[in-house]
């Protein structure tokens, strides 16, 4: 069964959606969407690193993204620059360094488009294993740190005053983000991973009244996006990664009608 490229793509997509759902909620709550982009851009550097040193791509992306995430946390504490300026600084410089390194490696040819937009239809069994095991680890860690992470998301000082150690859990969360980017870069590419994180969560926000509900809707939204996107890709031959994101956008647009009804009710 796993011989079928479409089944493999479905399995990987479903595994990803299960993880990006809850992580994406935190990205939206914590206003980290640009942060996700920054990590994804820095992933390019990780990819080139894996080409030069021949270490596993997911691993090198994970390491580089984690380092960039931790540098950001450090800079936020030590400089007076606003977060968005720091993010821009890190995103563009890591992207630039990545491209410079690619230039230096002129002898090696690799598929830049594939890297930017991913190719979920080209995944192999190893990728499925990577997504499901990596995803399971991310979800387990997220479950463990849920309470303190959520408390520090609602209010940092309150969480710190009441002994929830928000700084530590923020750092763990950013590493989880680096991890999801590392395991999914091959499938949706570094330009679309933030879309996978944000779109289902944004859709879920429109139709939820409490945090748990939002997480569940976000997962459902991600799963639907993957299914719709992949079938569209199969039937009408559209590129798979962008199709998944477009499906997510359609779901978001549908969810807008629910907000309208709600505000009418409130009035």
């Amino acid at each position: 069964m796993l011989d079928d490229f479409f089944i493999r793509a479905l399995l990987v997509g479903i595994g990803m959606a299960l993880v990006t759902g809850p992580l994406g909620c935190f990205v939206v709550w914590r206003r980290l969407s640009f942060f996700g982009d920054t990590l994804a851009h820095s992933a390019l550097l990780g990819v080139t690193l894996s080409y030069t040193t021949e270490i596993n791509m997911a691993l090198s992306v994970f390491v580089i993204s984690s380092i960039v995430a931790l540098i950001l946390l450090k800079l936020q504490k030590t400089t007076n620059l606003p977060s968005d300026a720091l993010l821009g600084l890190l995103a563009h410089s890591s992207l630039a360094i990545g491209l410079v390194v690619i230039g230096l490696l002129a002898t090696i040819r690799f598929d830049l488009m594939g890297l930017l937009f991913g190719d979920i239809l080209a995944v192999n069994v190893n990728d499925i294993i990577l997504v499901w095991i990596g995803g399971a680890i991310i979800l387990i860690v997220l479950k463990i740190i849920w309470k303190p992470l959520f408390a520090s998301t609602v209010n940092f000082e309150l969480a710190e005053a009441e002994g929830m150690k928000p700084e530590k859990y923020n750092a763990i969360f950013t590493i989880l983000l680096a991890a999801i980017i590392a395991i999914s870069i091959k499938m949706v590419g570094l330009l679309l991973i933030t879309g996978m994180l944000i779109l289902p969560a944004a859709m879920a926000r429109n139709i939820s009244d409490n945090p748990m509900q939002m997480v569940i809707f976000s997962i459902i939204g991600g799963l639907l996006s993957v299914l719709i996107g992949l079938f569209a890709s199969l039937e009408i031959n559209t590129p798979s990664g962008p199709s998944i994101i477009t499906a997510g956008l359609l779901l978001f647009i549908l969810s807008l009608s629910r907000i309208k009804k709600k505000t009418q009710l409130n009035n």
Binding site: W29, N155, A161, D209, Q213
Partner: protein, 249 residues
């Protein structure tokens, strides 16, 4: 020796130096179980800073803070919650601990807000939100409770009732309370120990000591301090938290 066992937190000559200036300096006091310590002082005198030092929110401080409890609850002066989060009162009550439904209901009952349990936090008024913050802190059954201007935005009757409540909490939970308030007249009669701040400790002691202290009178004016120090609660009725009045038996 019992004194030592009762101690919850002890500040020894602490200060915070940020951006080339001392936010507060040379503060020493101790909070024991069952005791209400009140910080008073003009704006910018370092009350909130001192509360945050006590909570361990400043990493880089002068002096020493000895904390003997982990069960801390905090009602901050200002709290900003990002409205991208859909969060109900019920979820908020469970923010830093896990409570049973009954515990949540009881705490909301005490602050007169049980009807708000399923409301979105965003839809609350300032006064309602303040009571929810109090309810959340009480529900934790803390050993140390830090209240930074806990009654702002609450109407006057509710305010008195909330201060009565603070006294009651300290008696029933036997917890130590660090209270910051502008409303000296209400606060003074319920406090065990007052610390008057103005960038440093001006004076401290029992409410009467402080009220009679020259430095305190300099800061707040002699007339006001007199009125405040004689205020005692002698109504023949009780103002309940929801604003209704009940005759005393």
């Amino acid at each position: 020796m019992t004194q030592i066992n009762n101690s919850l937190v002890k500040l020894e000559n602490v200060g915070v130096f940020v951006n080339d200036k001392w936010l507060v300096k040379g503060v020493t006091f101790e909070i024991n179980k069952g005791q209400i310590v009140t910080l008073i002082g003009p704006n910018g005198s370092g009350k909130t800073t001192t509360a945050k030092i006590t909570l361990g929110l400043y990493k880089d401080i002068e002096g020493k803070v000895l904390k003997f409890t982990e069960k801390v609850a905090y009602v901050p002066q200002k709290i900003s919650i990002d409205w991208t989060l859909p969060i109900r009162v019920n979820d908020f009550m469970n923010l830093t601990n896990t409570l049973t439904n009954d515990e949540i209901k009881d705490a909301l009952e005490i602050t007169g807000t049980p009807h708000l349990i399923n409301k979105d936090l965003k839809s609350l008024s300032g006064g309602e939100f303040q009571r929810i913050l109090m309810a959340r802190a009480i529900a934790k059954k803390p050993e140390l409770l830090v209240l930074d201007e806990p009654v702002q935005g609450v109407d006057f009757n509710g305010e008195i009732a909330l201060y009565e409540l603070i006294k009651k909490i300290s008696d029933t939970l036997n917890c130590g309370i660090l209270l910051i308030s502008h409303n000296l007249h209400v606060v003074m009669s319920k406090t065990d120990h007052v610390v008057c701040l103005n960038g440093h400790v001006c004076c401290s002691g029992t409410p009467i000591d402080v009220a009679n202290n020259e430095k305190y009178q300099e800061i707040f004016g002699k007339d006001i301090s007199k009125i405040l120090s004689v205020y005692e609660h002698s109504h023949d009725h009780i103002h309940k938290i929801d604003g209704s009045i009940e005759k005393k038996k």
